[in-house]
Amino acid sequence: MAERATDRLLRMLGMITYLDRHAGVPVEQLAEQFGVTTRQVVEDIDTLWVTGTPGYWPHDLIDFDAASYDEGVVRLVESRGMTRPLRLGTREAVALIAALRAMRSVLAAGLDRGRTAVLASVLEKLTAATGEAAAAVDVRLAVEGAPEVVAALGEATTGARRLRIRYVTAADVTSVREVDPIRLLTEDEHAYLLAWCHRAHDERLFRVDRILAAEVLDEPATSHPVTTHATTFAPAPDDELVTLELASRARWIAEQVPVESVEDLPDGDFRVSLRVADPAWLRHLLLQVGADVRAVTPADVARDAAGAARSALAAYDDAGR
């Protein structure tokens, strides 16, 4: 994939800034610094070497120490006044600062004081350097789960330690498992722990607000490669296909549940098809939004939810309500 010329330009300008502040940098280190291959670094330096101010006589050009470069060390000799870092554009500043603000508000619980301080200081420096434009975007991430659970997950994830958790599934089944944390995913709607589950011998995604208790164990977490992009719930293609016709008020279902298709109907109604891995999850959903459901296919799905609702109503009748 060809890199965009503008991205390469920014990197080359960044390299001049970096090389101005560091006398003599090995090509390998420069590659790591800018997240590219050593071959790309050599191409960038070769390009920088022939650019400069019009005329392009030797004294007009950006220049490096040739003897040093032969030994694989880049030493800037002439910068043609390009050493100052480029100002951040408004959208660039917004993208970084809004992310940092949201991160600070949720990560504080899972981080030690030193790391929290780093987050706070970089936010302060960037805000000072870019002004208040970033106030245009305000992201609040999910803060959920018991504080002691969140703290244990943070400690185990950053410290690479095994966890014992008590977990309740969407189908209301509780179990105790030992897991090796891989990543703590905090999103705007929910937070999840992606972990290797020693009971399932596989990666599992655990919703943090359903982790009832978490204990950091003495054993280190063994490292497991993240095999899937299992960072969101994705139903399998052979799960049961269910079609729902819903009133407009239930539009959030089309927006927040991974659906196969959405079709708008007259009067603002709409039809969604979704793959259902867990019948208990679908029953839960239908019990919530029954008033907005116009039709359900297959019919036994509707019968199952209606039956569960009647049992619940009977429990209230018993209570004399």
Partner: protein, 352 residues
Amino acid sequence: MSDQIQPAERLLNLVIALVNTAGRMTKEQIRSTVAGYSDATSDDAFERMFERDKDALRDLGIPILTVAGGGHSDDVGYRVDQEAYALPPVELTAAELGVLSLAVQFWQDKSLRTDATRALTKLRGLANAPAGTDLVAGLAPRVRAAGDAFGPLLDAVQARQAVMFTYRAASTGDVRDRTVEPWRLLARGGGWYVVGRDRDRDAPRSFRLSRIQGRVRTVGDLGSYEIPADLDAAAVVGDRHREPVRVATLALRPERASALRSRAVPADDTAPSDAAALSDVDLGDPRHARALVDRDVVRVPFTGTADLADEIAGYADAVVVLEPSDLRDAVLRRLRAAAALDAEPTARSDRG
């Protein structure tokens, strides 16, 4: 120079030339002296090349000024605004740079990722890359994709320029055009919203980005309104977390609804005993007697009545609400509607 000069090299030469020029450079000077522009085979080709490059550099945040010449109207020149070019002095540590790398991963949208990545590239020259493991390894906060409307709306907020878009109201299903003065963009609880003044209603409104259909168009002049200084955007979206905290009293089947149990609180600390704390529910009432057989009574604090009613209805007969009555009624409404899901279609349409 027989070889074609690559675009990145030509752009770099243009930036260096415009930063270093004593006064200004005209297009003709640029064409004849800046390396790469002599590759243009015609006047038109040069114009297109130069305009495209100028836009690309401005898009990167490089402030290219247009400077009028002394005489002719076509004698326009260009230079880089030295004051506006550089980032104000800032020093970053390697650890701070590591946090910024994580911030880039925060965004799921391609355009926001691109913006954040560019910002990071600009800042990379300021500190050493963190060695070894990331400072916050394993922690991956992120926000869902905001969609195509985000970019134009953010630009409009910055420019104080009104926008028009087609919007589907979820409450009514009504689809029509809205004209809005956008104030702020918010992500809350699984959705992106724009908050602003709805010109047709002359009132603050919030719009969910996923319900905007088609393109967002700007209307009217830049800087045509002020953003209220005391803006409480979250209140306009209708933050459900603003309801006061109350306590629900629930009767649970044994071993069930563990997620609710985990949020339970002990009886009020100030009360002498459980029974007294539950005084708002008369457990001795014979009407409760059968409901409470083999059930555990727990107290769960909550703020959003609708959210908790959704959750409880989902548990079906595993949870019975004893108090408060508005929560119990909300759950009963959901259960009655769900109980009619397998009714004959004719009977269901009668419900109206």
